[in-house]
């Protein structure tokens, strides 16, 4: 894997538990690879199955979804809904030529800073072993990124 081909992982974290645990990992100065980027959601119940597929489409090498421990979701059933959605996508991924191990759902409490760091390390290793499923893209070729979503975004930003 050449330098620029470092795997990139997005982590959808719920504000009350996983995001807080990530903060705690920082407070404890624990270490995990910078490949993991956190997107904060009010609750994993807000995770739309579309976000996961769009992440892979956009170029994610791995997706983490992390919510509260079962039974202690701030919004009662958000984490349960999220787990079901992630499971459904994990069953779909192999049919699209994507290894299901690239996507994983985790439960953890806001006090488990160490667990968050461990999850991040584990997923980076797992995804690095799987390599990138996108055909080696040299440069940012537009056609590879034919998706109309990409075009819409550029027009918004006034770049086109």
């Amino acid at each position: 894997m050449s330098a620029h081909a470092e795997p990139k992982i997005v982590a959808f974290c719920c504000h009350y538990c996983a995001f807080a645990a990530a903060d705690l990992a920082g407070v404890l100065r624990l270490k995990y690879p910078p490949n993991v980027h956190i997107i904060r959601l009010p609750c994993t119940g807000k995770l739309d199955a579309l976000y996961v597929l769009k992440a892979f489409e956009a170029g994610a090498d791995g997706v983490i979804v992390a919510g509260c421990l079962e039974g202690s979701c701030h919004f009662i059933s958000g984490n349960i809904r999220a787990k079901k959605r992630v499971l459904a996508i994990k069953n779909l991924l192999p049919k699209l030529g994507i290894a299901p191990e690239r996507l994983e759902f985790f439960n953890l409490s806001s006090a488990q800073g160490d667990r968050f760091a461990q999850i991040a390390r584990e997923m980076v290793e797992r995804v690095r072993a799987l390599g990138s499923f996108h055909p080696a893209e040299e440069e940012d070729s537009h056609d590879r990124r034919g998706s109309e979503a990409h075009r819409r975004d550029l027009t918004d930003a006034g770049a086109l």
Partner: protein, 841 residues
């Protein structure tokens, strides 16, 4: 002076004395840990590897001296065997006679955390009585024993000696079989108790407050937050040793008491903050990005200048700078100027976690005329610099990506309207026992209309049968006083033999139907307080119900008050923890106190009586310890039994034969008793099932209500606007229940005092064009915030919506968007994260 860029140092400052005119004073001067050096036999201060509990807590802390690594002070080696010695300085006439109430549990917690940090540590706790009487405490001790392998030894440690070569420690104690033993440990932790803080005592004297015989500030049993001087309230450990939940409850109670006292003056000294007219952002996004150094916390790893430069290149960004401390007062002022000067309509701050300071920045941009939701915060500290300190360049690259994502979301942000909803200024209190009456009185005194509903025909039935508190206060007098106050208070309406048929609506606007023999009535109210009590459990063991000479503690009281009933002639046996098994493992907290009170009363009547108390752990925490000592001095015989070999009661012609295996002496003891008294503990009011159904609030496995957070929100339910107190939350002594009721009233008063409630902002809304009324959102919403409107389509009640977004994620027609987390906003962040090249200029 020269070193500080901000010229913040001014050595010319001198002490300044100024006076404040206030209506009430709240003293919360706290406690000091007992000085373990004074307990010479344990060698604290002489042996290197003997620490106090608070010191060991610091050692365990990640931000502590060893970053959470457990090491021995003498050689910084990880210890294997650690001994915790309980009651250091407490329950000891040479030091402090009272029990410090918290040490058993903090020792257990520290043992578990130590084990988690380093699993080959073997913690051992030496204790006299294991006092795990709080909510969920006994299950923590059970987990400590079974899952974490913590060893508990019931034995007083007579001495600790140090082995010079290894600096290990030898502990002499009596083991299970009674033999005297010496055991070597790598580390010893002394569970020191609580002393009143010296400065606190001095301040109390200055304010003319009386102290009790232990040096804590004296309060009355029936008004635990009031000092001996009118208008001065006290809370926390300065009134006596207590743990965090009790402290938080007392704090709310003190606030409630002040609220009631100063009710007439409410709002007279407050100014409402006015924000400038919000400018509606039109046209393309004009984004300002502020990248924080946070001193060296971020800048020490991330090249913040490069990130700021990079931010300038991002579409929509018209201003970007890096700031030493974005949250500092002068920078907030600077931000407002930049917003006005460059006509910014979006602000992105890249610094620490939004969980801390997002509200501060949102308030700041509001002061600059911007809707507070036109703001995005990017965490480049806890989730970047602090966790990637070893890879600065990659941390900088990541910071750039995170900023790029934040800016992308900012481009899509929309202003969100927040409207306020008027609150019905009244409260519904369910349960007319001690707690219900106190809560109602506190709310009424604070000026709020209160409906007190009791399903029984009479109020305060839970207090019937209790003559005195352990401290000797007259409980029946209290009950009479409360009944009179509640009946005559202009702001309280009492409904007896009445139940709540139905509660609809939401925080601020509940509508309930009350039903009684007098018919039905619908009332409007803004808050609900559940105040049902716990009642003495009827036992089914030890011949209870088969032999008149076997009574419960309450039935014994009737004899003490009225003299009728069974005559306890010569000898009497009390059995504690009756009926406490796997199904009902919790400690009811008040039975030991009641048993000691009754034993002393019996001795007072006839000193020749012979009283035995058979117990598992003697739960006389706090100042109750004095009762325990006075009972022992009065000749009461205390026999500890192991829960696996409980006592046996059999009829033997003219008396009852009680045999018990004394866990301390390890032999059978036979007692001939004229009377056997059972301490059966309490169980929650069965009516709680109905309340749980009505309010959709949870019950735990034993039927007690589950609060929002055991330490931080002990008297709140998770759902807004609903509060709880009373025995059905957790058993407690009379003064503990009174404090909890005042606390619940205080919390409820916050909602009522505001008069209005903010609704909107991060809530979900349904696009009526797209909705196909498939009802998925209605079925999935955990808070019942979705209803079907007149057009037959789904609509969301803004006030009820908690902003979780479950409905938005599952809506098959993509008709629902959650404010501040719209799909376009989240998808733009995903898109930006994976845009390949980070175009470094």
């Amino acid at each position: 002076m020269k070193a500080c860029e901000r010229q913040a140092l001014d050595f010319t400052q001198t002490e300044r004395i100024f006076s404040l005119e206030v209506g009430a004073v709240v003293l919360a001067t706290g406690f000091e840990p007992y000085d373990a050096r004074v307990v010479g036999e344990y060698g604290f201060g002489r042996f290197a590897n003997v620490l106090t509990g608070p010191q060991f807590e610091r050692l365990l802390s990640a931000s502590g001296p060893t970053m959470g690594k457990v090491v021995r002070p003498s050689d910084s080696q990880p210890p294997k065997k650690i001994a915790f010695i309980q009651c250091v300085g407490s329950r000891d006439l040479r030091h402090q006679s009272y029990c410090s109430a918290v040490c058993c549990m903090y020792a257990t917690k520290e043992a578990i955390v130590a084990k988690e940090h380093d699993h080959q540590i073997e913690p051992t706790i030496f204790y006299i009585d294991l006092r795990a009487y709080g909510k969920g405490f006994e299950s923590l001790v059970k987990r400590a024993r079974e899952e974490h392998g913590v060893r508990y030894i019931c034995s007083m440690v007579s001495q600790v000696t140090e082995i010079p070569e290894t600096k290990n420690l030898l502990i002499r104690y009596r083991d299970e079989s009674g033999a005297l033993r010496e055991e070597e440990f790598d580390l010893v932790v002394l569970a020191v108790g609580m002393r009143p803080s010296a400065k606190g005592q001095e301040l109390a004297r200055k304010l003319g407050l009386e102290l009790n015989e232990h040096g804590f500030i004296k309060t009355s049993v029936f008004d635990p937050v009031r000092s001996t001087r009118a208008g001065v309230f006290v809370t926390g450990a300065c009134t006596g040793p207590k743990d965090i939940p009790e402290t938080v409850i007392q704090a709310s109670a003190a606030a409630a008491a002040v609220g009631a006292l100063l009710a007439p003056a409410r709002g007279t000294r407050t100014q409402t903050k006015h924000y400038p007219e919000e400018s509606v952002p039109d046209g393309a996004p004009r984004i300002g990005v502020f990248v924080c150094h946070c001193g060296s916390n971020i800048a020490g790893v991330v090249d913040v200048k490069a990130v700021a430069e990079y931010a300038k290149t991002l579409p929509g960004v018209v201003h970007a700078e890096n700031v030493l401390y974005t949250c500092s007062q002068d920078n907030l002022k600077h931000m407002k100027e930049i917003i006005r000067e460059k006509k910014l309509n979006r602000v992105v701050v890249a610094s620490c976690t939004p969980r801390n300071l997002a509200a501060l920045f949102q308030d700041t941009i509001r002061e600059a005329g911007l809707n507070k939701f036109l703001f995005e915060m990017v965490n480049i500290r806890e989730q970047c610099s602090w966790v990637h300190a070893d890879q600065p360049e990659r941390a900088t690259e990541k910071a750039k990506r995170l900023v790029r994502m934040g800016v992308a979301k900012a481009r899509q942000l929309k202003p969100l309207a927040v409207q306020s909803v008027r609150i019905a200024p009244a409260a519904l209190v369910i349960g007319g026992g001690l707690s219900g009456m106190v809560a109602a009185l506190t709310l009424a005194d604070s000026g709020f209309e209160t409906h007190l509903v009791e399903r029984r025909a009479e109020l305060g039935t839970d207090l019937l049968g209790i003559l005195r508190t352990p401290e000797g206060e007259d409980v029946q007098h209290l009950r009479a006083r409360l009944l009179d106050a509640v009946r005559t208070h202009p702001k309280i309406r009492v409904y007896t033999s009445t139940t709540v048929q139905e509660i609809s609506g939401f925080v601020g606007n509940f509508s309930s139907v009350l039903k009684g023999p007098w018919g039905e009535e619908r009332i409007q109210h803004g808050v609900v307080i559940v105040a049902t009590e716990a009642y003495e459990r009827k036992p089914s063991a030890y011949l209870y119900g088969e032999d008149p000479r076997v009574l419960t503690q309450r039935e014994l009281l009737r004899y003490l008050e009225t003299g009728e009933g069974e005559q306890p002639r010569r000898s009497l046996v009390m059995i504690q923890c009756v009926g406490r098994d796997e199904k009902r493992p919790y400690c009811s907290r008040i039975c030991c106190g009641e048993a000691l009170k009754n034993a002393l009363a019996l001795l007072e009547q006839d000193p020749s009586r012979q009283i035995y108390v058979l117990y598992r752990e003697m739960i006389s925490y706090g100042f109750l310890e004095d009762l325990y000592r006075r009972a022992r001095e009065g000749g009461v015989v205390f026999i500890r039994y192991d829960e696996r070999t409980p006592p046996v009661v059999q009829r033997a012609n003219d008396h009852l034969a009680v045999t018990v295996r004394d866990a301390r002496l390890r032999q059978e003891v036979l007692i001939q008793a004229d009377l056997v008294v059972l301490s059966t503990g309490v169980e929650p009011d069965p009516y709680n099932e109905e309340i749980s159904r009505l309010l959709k609030v949870p019950l735990d496995a034993h039927g007690f209500f589950v609060e929002a957070h055991i330490k931080l929100r002990p008297v709140d339910f998770a759902s807004h606007g609903i509060f709880l107190c009373g025995g059905s939350h957790a058993p407690g002594t009379i003064s503990e229940l009174i404090a909890k009721a005042q606390a619940a009233a205080g919390r409820a008063a916050i909602v009522l005092a505001k008069g209005e409630l903010e609704a909107g902002g991060v809530v979900a809304t349904v696009d009526q064009e797209k909705c196909t009324a498939c009802l998925t959102c209605l079925r999935e919403c955990p808070f019942g915030a979705v209803f079907i409107n007149a057009q037959g389509l789904a609509e969301i009640e803004a006030v009820k919506c908690q902003g979780c977004g479950i409905c938005a994620a599952d809506c098959p027609a993509k008709a629902i968007q959650l404010g501040q987390f719209e799909d376009a906003q989240e998808l733009s962040m995903i898109e930006e994260l994976f845009r390949e090249r980070v175009s470094a200029l």
